[in-house]
Symmetry: C2
Subunit: 338 residues, 2 copies
């Protein structure tokens, strides 16, 4: 049977959808159930990774240390994984996770900035951890750039390199082109992380597997920001149907959804207009509110602002550009009318 490795990110990416409000006790209890369902790797902690609990990124209910302690105590067979975004988390934060038997660290950078992951991956490998290079917002770079950056991750010692469609902006043809190129260019396993803004989280994950990805992500109920992630119990059902072995007990995973996740959810994981426009534009979700404010101020459609930000490949931190774009659109509009 064809094997697929699944990394469950319910307790990390899913934290965005519940404002990082899980207690350490809740996280431990869910981790235990995921372990019992046969999940082999779970990523846990603040939505923005270790060190993420802050005024800027939102305070989590518990500290990293409290989450690590609760989860490591709960796990029997399943391995604990943490996300480290250099600039948010540090090697010091990772050392805390190591006190609690963390097995894997995913070092995540913008798709064009793999070089900032070098020291973190080096450190992880020297200390016996599995290190995964994780390229975020991969729709923003052409195939060659994604390949170049993945090769950097591999050269730093990454055991796996992930392509993350963080904005849920890719269609299957793009996924196939990029994953095939990665598969041809690097010697370590290729991973894929999807979001559902275009209703394609499951479809794109299958496209990634078809072209060579052997490690893929999901979250129970699709729990995640905006339209959410690949709904893991759905993905497992589909992979079962297609003859893949994930090692996960589908019914037990469905029960985790019903008994543990449904009661926590703040809102249903649907594709709202907001989520759709983010995926369609290929823009940052955090731009939504800014774009809406600017749209109102300058009498333009927030969707047009987001589309233009996507075209310009505007990245987080460039929020000032939103006003500029709104002003330009407003001028164009007046010229067209006049």
């Amino acid at each position: 049977m064809k094997q697929i490795r699944i990394i469950d990110a319910t307790l990390r990416d899913g934290m965005h959808a519940v404002s990082h409000s899980l207690s350490a006790e809740q996280m431990g209890a869910i981790a235990q159930r995921l372990d019992e369902a046969g999940v082999t790797t779970i990523e846990i902690g603040h939505g923005d990774g270790i060190g993420g609990s802050s005024l800027q990124y939102g305070f989590a209910k518990a500290s990293d240390r409290e989450y690590f302690a609760a989860v490591s105590k709960a796990l029997k067979n399943c391995k604990m994984d943490v996300l480290l975004i250099p600039g948010i988390g540090t090697i010091e934060d990772l050392k805390v996770a190591m006190e609690y038997n963390v097995h894997t660290v995913r070092v995540a950078t913008h798709v064009t900035e793999a070089d900032v992951a070098e020291q973190h991956i080096n450190f992880a490998k020297k200390n016996g951890l599995e290190a995964i290079g994780f390229l975020m917002m991969s729709h923003m770079a052409p195939v060659e750039k994604v390949v170049e950056q993945a090769k950097l991750m591999e050269s730093y010692g990454a055991d796996v390199v992930y392509m993350a469609d963080s904005g849920g902006a890719m269609v299957p043809d793009e996924v196939k082109a990029k994953i095939s190129a990665l598969k041809a260019a690097i010697n370590v396993p290729v991973g894929f992380h999807a979001h559902n803004n275009l209703g394609l989280a499951v479809g794109n994950t299958l496209a990634a597997i078809e072209t060579g990805a052997t490690v893929v992500d999901g979250t129970v109920r699709g729990l995640g920001a905006g339209a959410g992630n690949t709904q893991l119990e759905v993905l497992v059902a589909v992979l079962n149907k297609m003859g893949y072995d994930t090692g996960i007990d589908l019914y037990k995973l469905m029960d985790v959804g019903q008994e543990m996740i449904d009661p926590l959810m703040h809102r249903p994981q649907i594709i709202s207009n907001d989520a759709l426009v983010i995926g369609y534009a290929g823009a940052y979700g955090s731009f939504l509110l800014h774009a809406r404010r600017a749209a109102e101020k300058f009498g333009v459609d927030a969707r047009d602002i987001l589309m233009e930000l996507g075209r310009r490949k505007t990245v987080g931190g460039q929020e000032d550009l939103i006003i500029d774009v709104a002003i330009e659109l407003s001028k164009q509009r007046k010229q067209n009318v006049g």
Copy 2:
């Protein structure tokens, strides 16, 4: 630009999700907005098609005639389409629709029973209507059978033949195999209708288009029974991204969702465990409640009953078999324990 024809089924398949409770006035108002958004064909009426309003299938808020009158008055460019399931609807029901300028009739049968559509398609063609043959639950038949039945539909005069994945049970590989075979075997356009039980409504629709389908369905917000249909505004966004022309104004369609559909919805259109197991098993959604009752009575898991019903390709009307399956599973269970 590559053209794709879209048939919007919000006001027909979507009626299942609101217990057929739209008033004729509401239906007319939504039809008008869909027309203004550039939708070229809309299917309207009771969820089970013309003549569906009944004790058995649920009474609709208004009569077929009232819906036809309201919608035909509202439309300027868009064409009205009705679904006719022989056995539920009749040629007499279709004659009523013809008084209100119905343009298209989709004659729908179980995937193995195309022959019951012959007289209805003949009648439609003699009377100048567009006739579409619509093969439901197409996951239940192998490729050759689907092709054979599609050829029958074509031989009766169908202008288009649809393959409907009514149970949301197909994966992209199956869609591709079946649509390619249809494309090779018949000379009229091939259509595809998806449901989202496996999170693949959009992904499967793209797979169908890739292999030759040129007419596809969707509903605004995915409104439909269980996990719902292909979410139309999402599909249009994806097709726009891929360079297809649907003739639909995406922003206007999104606005229809927000202003007209969201306020009507009884529940969010998510993939619940129930919807997932129906797609996974390939069973009828109407079996859910029966399976759950039988499961409780005989101490087995309802999911196992549904899986077995799917394996046996049990069809609507064979509800008696549900008890038989539950008893068998219960016996097996005792033998395994003993």
